[in-house]
Amino acid sequence: MTDITHEARHIPDRLESPLRGAVFSWPTLLLIVGVVLFIVNSLASPYFLSPWSLSDATFNFTEKAIIALAMALLIIAGEIDLSVASIIALASTAMGVALQFGVGVPGLVTIGILTGLICGVFNGFLVTGLGLPSIVVTIGTMSFFRGISYIVLGDQAFKGYPAGFDYFGQGYVWWVVSFEFTLFLVFALLYYVLLHHTNFGRQVFTIGNNPVAARFSGVRVERVKFILFCLTGLMSGIAAVLLTSRLASTRPSIAVGWELEVVTMVVLGGVSILGGSGTIQGVVIAAFIMGLVTFGLGLLNVPGIVMSIFIGALLICVIALPILWARMRRRAAR
């Protein structure tokens, strides 16, 4: 797996620096940041280190992180999906409508996930079928999908989800470990294997590095990208089920602004926005970091909007510092 990422053409300086090996890899660096944050959090607030509060902390990021796993693959392949939050809104709306017809829990879940998948297929068709730039297509479908939610719902909300539906967003699998979080860990493992240990994952990297070369070496670029869009749609549908269940309601303004948070999570995880490099481990750790930052600051009564300063600064610093570091080293070497 390291072979692929290191040979990437477009990777920034930080990965090409001589500081190679597991010790100085991107996930390790992130892990250190995470551990520091964890220690700071536990020192700053006496409430932090209880199992329940740590479990609560996971609710801050699992739904976004589940999408981020699929988004990571998409960005590695050189595309982007800005419509994920709107897919959540549409899938949640579809479930809300189904609820009015008295559909049971299995039906609701199926409808939510299927709606997500269909949205992903739609995106995938527009991008790969018609050869359009994904950043613009998904800005369009972002308005389009959420617009449909607004048409269906107006300014009302659907409530009254049946008993049993609340399990997905509020249930616990084992004592204090939530169902959401468990699901995230399972998906993280699946995506890790998919990206780093399968042919498909190798093709994703190849496409991100050089789509033309990938095509000539027999990779079906369009098909791979199409599958990736379907995956982000699917994961958004799953996130919609979790989020709707957690909030126990559907409204069209659900998950507004999440698309940029998901992208931030992926980029923070060391996935190059230029495509071609990145790891699932990094994304998972970045998800934890964002969860730690928001939850820790929340315990300190820092309002949500101010936390965004930290997230933004973290994003820029984490990208900029290794570049500056590499430059300084190069200058010193001369």
């Binding site: 527009l126 730039p133 994904s134 613009v136 230029l274």
Partner: protein
């Protein structure tokens, strides 16, 4: 014949005209001059911002922080006005431009000197700038009763039948037209977008040109920060939230290629006008405003499909900008 068909601006203008006429059939009086002037005035800010975004997109970058820049600058000038009502408004406007310029320069420096992709930098500053609003205002809103009357009136003063806000848009548009077609910076912006590598050989500093475009988009965002607070008489954390994507949408509808190098001032203006006309027409023809988002989304998708017919280029260029500069 071919040039007419290929000219997106012509078709876009025609579509906007058809939309106005069709709406007028359903709701007579929609196309009355004063109503049209009203639509233009409502769209003025989007036009200014779309022009700023255009200059950035032309160089294969993207500025996601424009709306946050606008909101932050708006809050700063609103707070200054609330605290010191005596400061003359033109000075305050100049200060707003300066604030925006500084915020834009921050983006630009990171992109120029550190070579970080613009989409990452502006994604970061988008959240940072908006967070700072909360800090400097202490979570408070600045409402009408705190702002001085002159501050609020300045965008509404009429001159030759049009409010000042419209005139600002016209002035910016003319300035932009001159900048893009008659100056070396304008040429450099197009050149960088069309072929960064060739631009380097032609003696154009790609990084510095990008920096310049971020200064422009920052300056215009700051200027619109004042305009927004003055027009809607509110300064808050929520100002223009999510508007960054509307600005990009206006550019895309206007035929500005996200892959860089392709786009005109007229296109950006018409793209903004297109969204403005939709917004104004829907309530008039009794379509619920809840349809507005889906319709503009569909319009964007349609515009992209039409764009792609005009120019078949790689879809990944916007994410590839670092290639040429490194």
């Amino acid at each position: 014949m071919k040039t007419v068909i290929l000219s997106r601006e012509f078709w876009l203008a025609a579509i906007v005209a058809v939309m106005v006429i069709a709406t007028n059939l359903r709701a007579p009086g929609f196309a009355a001059p004063d109503k049209l002037a009203g639509i233009f005035n409502d769209t003025a800010m989007l036009m200014i911002l779309a022009l700023g975004q255009m200059s950035v997109i032309l160089t294969r970058s993207i500025d996601l922080s424009m709306a946050s820049n606008l909101a932050l600058t708006g809050m700063i000038v609103a707070l200054i006005n609330a605290a010191f009502p005596g400061i003359p408004i033109p000075a305050l406007m100049l200060f707003a431009c300066l604030c925006g310029l500084v915020l834009g320069a921050f983006n630009g420096i990171l992109i120029w000197l550190l070579n970080i992709p613009a989409i990452v930098v502006t994604l970061g500053t988008l959240t940072i700038y908006r967070g700072i609003i909360f800090l400097i205002a202490g979570g408070q809103w600045v409402n009408a009763d705190k702002l001085s009357p002159a501050f609020v009136q300045y965008t509404r003063i009429e001159f030759l039948g049009l409010p000042a806000l419209s005139w600002y848009a016209i002035v910016v548009a003319v300035a932009f037209f001159i900048l893009m077609t008659r100056t070396s910076l304008g040429r450099a912006i197009y050149a960088v977008g069309v072929n960064p590598t060739a631009s380097v050989y032609a003696g154009i500093d790609v990084g510095r040109t990008k920096f310049a475009t971020f200064l422009i988009s920052g300056l215009l965002s700051g200027f619109c920060g004042y305009l927004w607070v003055s027009r809607y008489v509110i300064g808050s954390v929520e100002v223009a939230k999510g508007y960054e994507l509307t600005i990009i949408a206006a550019c895309v509808i206007g035929g500005i290629s996200i892959a860089g190098g392709v786009g005109t001032v007229a296109g950006a203006l018409l793209g903004a006008l297109f969204l403005g006309v939709i917004n104004s027409a829907l309530p008039v023809i009794n379509v619920s405003p809840f349809w507005q988002m889906a319709i503009s989304g569909a319009a964007i998708i349609l515009a992209v499909v039409l764009n792609a017919r005009g120019e078949k280029r790689g879809s990944r260029l916007i994410l590839r900008e670092a290639e040429a500069t490194s």
